[in-house]
Amino acid sequence: MSEQMHIPRTKRVFINLPMLLRVLGWLLMIEAAFMLVPTLTCAIYQEPDIKAFLITTAITLATGIGMTFGIRTYNTSMGKREGFLLTSLVWVVFSFFGMIPYILCSNPLTITDAFFETMSGFTTTGATVYLNVEELSHGINMWRCLTQWLGGMGIILFTLAVLPMLNSSGGIQMFNAEVTGITHEKLRPRISQTAKGLWGVYGMLSLILCVLLWIGPLNFFDSICHAFSTMSTGGFSTRNNSIAYWDSNYVKIITTIFMFLGGVNFSLLYKICHGEGLKSLFRNDTFRAYLKIVSLTFVAFVIAIVANGQAHTVADVTIDPLFQIITTITSTGLTASNFESWGPFVLALLFLLMFFGACAGSTSGGAKIDRILYLLKNTSNELYRSIHPNAIRSVRINSMIMSPETVNRVIAFLCIYVIIVAAGGIMLTAFGLPIVDSFFSVFSCVSNVGLGTGVTGYSGYGFEVLPDIAKWVLSVFMLIGRLELFTVLILFTPAFWSK
């Protein structure tokens, strides 16, 4: 024997809590670093809210340092359980610390509203409890958009890119738990390289968008904020009327393009940046389906608009419907036009788009086109098999044959998705909400779209009119939707907690 494998003899603990808390401490320090951005914004605009941000940064940093350096770990191993638990926990803990500025600022929110706003930010839902965002300080607006930017690509993914200590198998578990999609494609051999690659593409696109918006009618501050919330397909705006404030086709076109890109699988974008031609994009089944869905609904929208007599200008039948389609399918939720007047058929189509979402591995929400594709192909196979019972047909995506287990998982996902929306809707009706609004708000939150209940005509306001308990419930649903059900739901199974 010239070499023996290292067989760890240290006892495997059930859940490695000390290590979990330590990593959480590291993550909080990263959040504190991000809080410096709004602090700086406040300093530049000389706003009193700087105090709120300084206090929050101090609290977050102190907790982070305390947890990282105060807790001793004897065992640094992290398994699947720790991966799931940490990923879910991070999003909740980040929201609890991230909500402090909203409570301490000059337009203070209640704890419920503040948590809802932060969770809505991190999960890129974009539902807001603010009636008038223009009266908020620059710092607060910057923080709202920054939470979306950070949440869009993923908190864990960012950490994997910057913290070398997670560059291990524990990191892989967290990567799998956070990144959206059915299978998680690695771009590079080591997880930190993959994370750096994805964040690199994301950061670069955000930068380009910011510059392009700045060239247009937006001022520097608005361009940064909109670049953050557009690229992450979040949908927070610094203006009450969202994009419509500028009433500029240039802004609409630019925003549409980048929202669209935000809905494309970032691994594909990464590969294009690294030498693979644009052709590989069009060879991708999901991307083709994405394009098809967008163009088909576009045609339907134009017909509906003309039929409703709303086609007054060229923009009414070109960029306006396109913007609305993209903002919905990518779950951004920015608004630029008065789409309520386009008739009920358009609204129904928008619901469908919300359910679809864009490609897996993007920053968008929803069930993801990939899964719909699986469902359709599997259904067509089943129908074929009804005529040819002995036929063997497999689900083939991107010329790869998917195993029946994967297909089962996807179909289970879609079923649970629908059940969750239904269950959530029923739960909200218990708090006295009208039935349509209940279902719509839950649907909007699980899909991370964030279109308000105003759409369905519920008193014409945003989410602030909901009872407190409904806001907490919706916050949970946003998280469930962002982490694609299984990561959060698994925490509620007995198998997760039993030894």
């Binding site: 067989i7 560059n167 198998s169 892989i172 051999p189």
Partner: protein, 444 residues
């Protein structure tokens, strides 16, 4: 370093895990998606489904830019071809696993270099070599030579009859100056001992010494060096065939094989061995074939459990040296606590020799072998490093490590508290798992 491994079989996946833990960039290619999925989900590496002998697959795995291409599929022609292809598209170094002794011949080296295969690895041949070493030095459990044999690490299991039982290590150091106990394996734990640790029965002690003093250990540990002549081998596996080709002159080998069709072909491949058709698990068969007069029993069947158990039986029947092939990694530690002389594992042998090739290529890593939970590293001392600042005793070295010996001017020597380490020395360090990265800083 970027390493592409073709073939996610036993050797391939073990190597991939090991290298990924050593913070190398590992990409694993295999045709079997299920096998890859398991590795992909739990390890920090990338997997790619595809045929290793396809330019397209190789390019998309990045073999054209890799530092090392390792082909360890079960088929040797496929391995050689894959290496040749990888080299042609730009891999810096290639390594193929082979099944043919002829290929290792130094006369054929040029041919393989022309093909683009830099190194060949033949796990069965290496395993047979290990067995021969174990038969020669049948009183030790482990035998490692460091720096071309300038220093030797010997693992010995001590029993009640050894002179040194019950001694504290500081007493032992006062009596004997030629040895350094660098690590102790006690049941499942590995200890880096301090002066007040005692030597207990059934400990496996890892001594470091210079070659001229090794034989003094036989007496100290209450061991006997047996002369081995008759060897009984269970299982006509490829290792057994290799062994008979290498050592039939020296040892009288008798092969017991269960499978009749294999038995028929064995006389051709092992002309000098006695071949017996029978089940070595049966004690009567063993008796009939003269287990009582056998000096060594080697169990090389496909089943690790059978190998372990038959070795124990053979030991009870009075065989002096037993060697078992144990391919299940989790059994190794258990088997070591049993009364089995030496344990052979093809995967570990193969991966450690591949590691050695890596070490030659990448000076950043210094680990040379792993003993249970401890790691052994051979580290070159850089000028002005912390370790050279004074005699070893005044350095306040961290716990869980020991400097076992050093090589100065190509001469091995032991290290005591008064030794001053000089730049340019090669220091052999034992440390507990994972601490190596911290320790390397002392030498830079």
């Amino acid at each position: 370093m970027k390493i592409v491994i073709a073939g996610a079989g036993e050797v391939g996946s073990h190597l991939a895990r090991l290298l990924s833990r050593e913070k190398q960039d590992v990409i694993l290619i295999d045709n079997n998606a299920e096998r890859l999925a398991i590795l992909d989900a739990d390890n920090n590496l990338m997997t790619l489904k595809g045929r290793p002998i396809s330019f397209k697959t190789q390019k998309s795995s990045g073999a054209d830019q890799c530092d090392l291409f390792i082909a360890v599929t079960p088929d040797e022609t496929q391995n050689v071809l894959a290496c040749s292809m990888a080299k042609s598209i730009g891999a810096k170094k290639t390594l193929a696993r082979i099944d043919n002794y002829e290929f290792l011949d130094s006369n054929n080296r040029d041919y393989f270099m022309r093909l683009g295969v830099n190194s060949l690895i033949y796990p069965e041949y290496l395993a047979a070599h290990e067995i021969i070493t174990a038969l020669h030095r049948n009183w030790v459990r482990h035998w490692f030579e460091i720096h071309d044999g300038k220093l030797i690490i010997v693992g010995v299991k001590v029993r009640d009859n050894a002179k040194i039982i019950g001694m504290q290590l500081k007493e032992f150091a006062m009596v004997e100056h030629n040895f350094h106990v660098a690590a102790i394996k006690r049941r499942h734990d590995t200890i880096i001992p301090r002066g007040d640790d005692r030597i207990l029965p059934n400990d496996i002690l890892y001594f470091v010494c210079t070659p001229e003093h090794v034989n003094e250990l036989i007496d100290l540990c209450g061991k006997q060096q047996h002369r081995i002549r008759r060897v009984l081998v269970m299982g006509g596996s490829r290792i057994a065939i290799c062994l008979s080709a290498l050592a039939s002159d020296e040892f009288k080998i008798k092969l017991i094989e269960n499978d009749m069709s294999k038995c028929r072909s064995l006389p051709e491949t092992c002309p000098q061995c006695d071949i017996v058709h029978g089940d070595a698990r049966d004690i009567d068969t063993l008796r009939e074939e003269g287990i009582m007069d056998t000096d060594a029993f080697i169990a090389l069947s496909d089943s690790s459990e059978t190998n372990i158990l038959t070795c124990l039986t053979a030991k009870e029947l009075g065989v002096k040296k037993t060697i078992a092939e144990v391919e299940d990694l989790q059994f190794i530690s258990e088997a070591e606590n049993l009364n089995i002389g030496t344990i052979i594992n093809k995967k570990l042998i193969a991966s450690s020799s591949i590691f050695q090739i890596l070490l030659d290529a990448d000076t950043g890593s210094s680990k040379c072998l792993a003993l249970a939970d401890a790691e052994v590293a051979e580290i070159e001392v850089r000028p002005k490093s912390k370790i050279t600042r004074g005699p070893v005793r005044s350095l306040d070295l961290p716990y869980g490590m020991t400097i076992a010996g050093l090589i100065r001017n190509n001469q091995g020597m032991l290290v005591t508290g008064n030794t001053v380490i000089e730049p340019g020395d090669y220091v052999v360090v034992f440390c507990l798992g994972g601490a190596l990265h911290k320790i390397e800083k002392l030498f830079k």
